[in-house]
């Protein structure tokens, strides 16, 4: 399955999101312990690219509407295992809708839009 890796989505966020999108699959990866830099608690969330997964991700990105723009660097792994880095940019306003963001994420992750019908 294709996946998207994103930093900042926490385990607590995942519990919140799964209440709304129970089919979303969200796993977590630990930071590299051999890194000579020790940082604050930060894990990388791995969201499986499905309609529920994209909805969950869109919902999370829209969480803080006080910001004017959300910019997130993500790593996308396609079904063949190939990875690429993408930057998600979403202009936020009160009228930014979840379906719009899901559509944008589907385009970035090359998710089959037929599955969204």
């Amino acid at each position: 399955m294709a996946e998207v890796r994103v930093q900042g989505l926490t385990r607590l966020d995942s519990l919140d999101l799964k209440r709304q999108f129970p089919d979303a699959v969200i796993a977590f990866e630990e930071a590299d312990s051999a890194d000579p830099w020790h940082g604050e608690l930060a894990t990388v969330a791995v969201v499986t690219i499905t309609l529920a997964g994209l909805n969950a991700l869109a919902n999370w990105l829209l969480k803080d509407r006080r910001k004017q723009e959300v910019v997130k660097t993500v790593v996308i792994t396609d079904a063949s295992g190939a990875t690429r880095t993408e930057t998600i940019r979403i202009k936020l306003s009160e009228s930014t809708s979840q379906p719009e963001v899901v559509k944008q994420l589907a385009s970035i992750t090359q998710f089959d839009s037929d599955a969204m019908q």
């Binding site: 890796r5 519990l15 051999a34």
Partner: protein
């Protein structure tokens, strides 16, 4: 996917805070907001632990490996490679042993440490002291008092810190900590935090003074991070890496066990401990600042302590030797005194920098501006000229041991002036004049050294050596060390968390998780359920309901997750 995070490098002790806008505002004379408390005290605690003898010894060991990597790179001589890789493997093993404790203490500072409740404190840790000075304006509060009584101020500060801890941001942060996997192969954060917390809960039974989380933090740091027996194991080159790694782990386990059981409580009065813990003392040695270097020893470890001190000193002397590289690009990047400068400034905590400009008002006299704001007025340069001076960089540092904040002014040719928010001692001033104080250069240099060490190990059996160690004996000992202490050897609590996970125990309900996290924070601040409701009214699951639901699923009364004690106060071991 790595984004800007607050982080610290163990070798150089260089901190990179992510909230640079707040630290820049500090340069303008504005206060740090309360929301910086969590990140600030977390990193300050790391910084303080990193200046300890044990972590300093780790830094010396790492730098000796970096020297050998440089020697090999410039001469092709690999005759000392075996010993060097043994050193590197020992370093990595020891860091893995210490990592849960380092993260555990930093989070303990974030979530549990408060200014002394009941009396003017005898002991005050440098991270808490720095947080009170620079985030909660302690000097200003003291100056506004008609008399010299500190107790009311400390009480007020404790309330403010508790209020921040029960904010939605901190409750979410603590919730995420509770949801981390446990076990040495999972996250070091929850494992280390719970180990520190259970040791603290236990320690209060032996010495009432250790009920103060800050005092306990000083105590634990001294006994583990100040232990020259650990250093003796770490730097014992007569043994291979596996023996050194295991020896280090065994000694650490013994020391934590001592802290848990306190076999000395009948013989050693608290006043004796207080004397030992009373520093922060810094010792200037050959122009280098060592903090908390006073050794301590039990009767049966005196010889090992002396051995550890000897090895520490030898490694220190070797570490500060000037580099001797052939002329070329590498020597330009790593001048002879570069490692010395990294070590010389380990005690200073860098907060950040900002562009600024110089406006001359007289001969070698002027003011410094950030944008249009005057941040330093009437600056007189005594050992430098202001000719041609225009664009500047200001860097801000804290000396956690003397308490002052330092601002350096740098032009194209480097640092030419200092300013302080409070007067440092003569000794500190003299140390500073001998330092280069170019943090950008140090950060760049340490990246070069990490790259060199990493390349040095490529194509060798180094990784295999480390993996065999963890696969064979190390992992079991590491788990035994931390998992046992994390649950105070209560198997039911340990198995519930290790096998099910706290998320499952809390029914994967984020509202219950938040409520339990709030209870853990409130319990540490000795609050009742009613007080928690008053301070944090946004909880979807109230404390009473949370306690009831946890009672139904949590198997241990000895290590409570969320409970109310007989006096009506909230109780939690998490």
């Amino acid at each position: 996917v790595t984004e800007a995070l607050t982080r610290i490098d163990l070798v150089s002790n260089h901190v990179a805070f992510k909230e640079q806008e707040h630290y820049r505002a500090l340069l303008r004379g504005q206060d740090l907001p309360a929301e910086t408390f969590s990140g600030f005290i977390h990193e300050a605690t790391h910084h303080w632990c990193n200046t300890s003898p044990v972590v300093s010894a780790l830094a010396f060991l790492y730098l000796s490996v970096a020297r050998e990597a440089l020697h090999w790179l410039t001469t092709g001589d690999d005759s000392r490679m075996d010993q060097t890789l043994e050193d590197l493997a020992t370093y990595e093993m020891a860091v893995s042993w210490m990592r849960p404790l380092m993260e555990g203490l930093a989070q303990f500072a974030e979530y549990d440490v408060l200014p002394d409740f009941f009396e003017p404190p005898q002991l005050l840790s440098p991270p808490l002291d720095a947080a009170m000075r620079h985030l909660f304006h302690l000097p200003r509060r003291i100056a506004s008092l008609p008399d010299a009584r500190l107790a009311p101020i400390f009480h007020e500060l404790a309330d403010e810190i508790s209020a921040w801890r029960l904010s939605r941001q901190t409750i979410d942060r603590k919730s995420d900590l509770l949801l981390q996997p446990i076990g040495s192969q999972g996250s070091a954060y929850l494992l280390g935090y719970l180990a520190v917390k259970q040791l603290w809960r236990n320690a209060q039974r032996f010495y009432a003074e250790l009920a103060h989380a800050d005092t306990f933090m000083i105590f634990l740091r001294k006994l583990v991070f100040g232990d020259f027996v650990l250093i003796s194991e770490l730097l014992d080159r007569s043994q291979d890496a596996r023996q050194r790694g295991l020896g280090f782990g065994r000694r650490l386990h013994e020391r934590l066990n001592d802290i848990r059981l306190m076999p000395w409580d009948d013989e050693v009065l608290w006043s004796t401990w207080e004397e030992l813990l009373m520093p922060p003392q810094t010792v200037g040695r050959g122009g280098f600042v060592l903090t908390d270097a006073e050794p301590f020893a039990a009767l049966d470890t005196t010889e090992l302590v002396q051995q550890g001190m000897r090895r520490f000193h030898e490694q220190f002397v070797a570490a500060i030797e000037p580099l001797d590289l052939p002329p070329g690009e590498l020597r330009s990047a790593l001048p002879a005194d570069s490692i010395g400068h990294v070590l010389r400034e380990r005690y200073l905590m860098w907060l950040g920098d900002s562009p600024a400009s110089w406006v001359s008002t007289g001969r070698n006299r002027g003011r410094v501006l950030m944008g249009r704001d005057v941040v330093l007025d009437d600056v007189q340069l005594t050992n430098a000229s202001d000719e041609g001076l225009d664009a500047l960089r200001l860097d801000s540092y804290l000396d956690l041991y003397e308490g002052y904040r330092l601002t350096t002014m740098a032009g194209e040719k480097g640092v030419f002036g200092f300013a302080f928010d409070s007067a440092p001692s003569e000794r500190a001033r003299s140390e500073l004049t001998r330092s280069r104080l170019d943090r950008h250069r140090i950060a760049g240099l340490i990246d070069v050294l990490h790259g060199l060490v990493s390349n040095y190990a490529v194509g060798t059996n180094f990784r295999e050596l480390v993996q065999i160690f963890w696969g064979k004996d190390g992992r079991a000992l590491l788990d035994a060390t931390y998992l046992g202490f994390a649950f105070d050897f209560d198997d039911a609590a340990r198995d519930a968390v290790a096998l099910e996970g706290l998320d499952s125990i809390m029914g994967n309900d984020p509202d219950l998780v938040r409520s339990v996290a709030a209870i853990t924070l409130a319990a540490s601040a000795r609050m009742s359920p009613e007080r928690l409701c008053a301070v944090s009214d946004g909880l979807a699951v109230g404390p009473a309901e949370a306690v009831e639901r946890i009672n139904a699923s949590w198997p241990s009364g000895h290590v409570p997750l969320a409970a109310v004690n007989a006096d009506g106060f909230l109780q939690s071991a998490f």
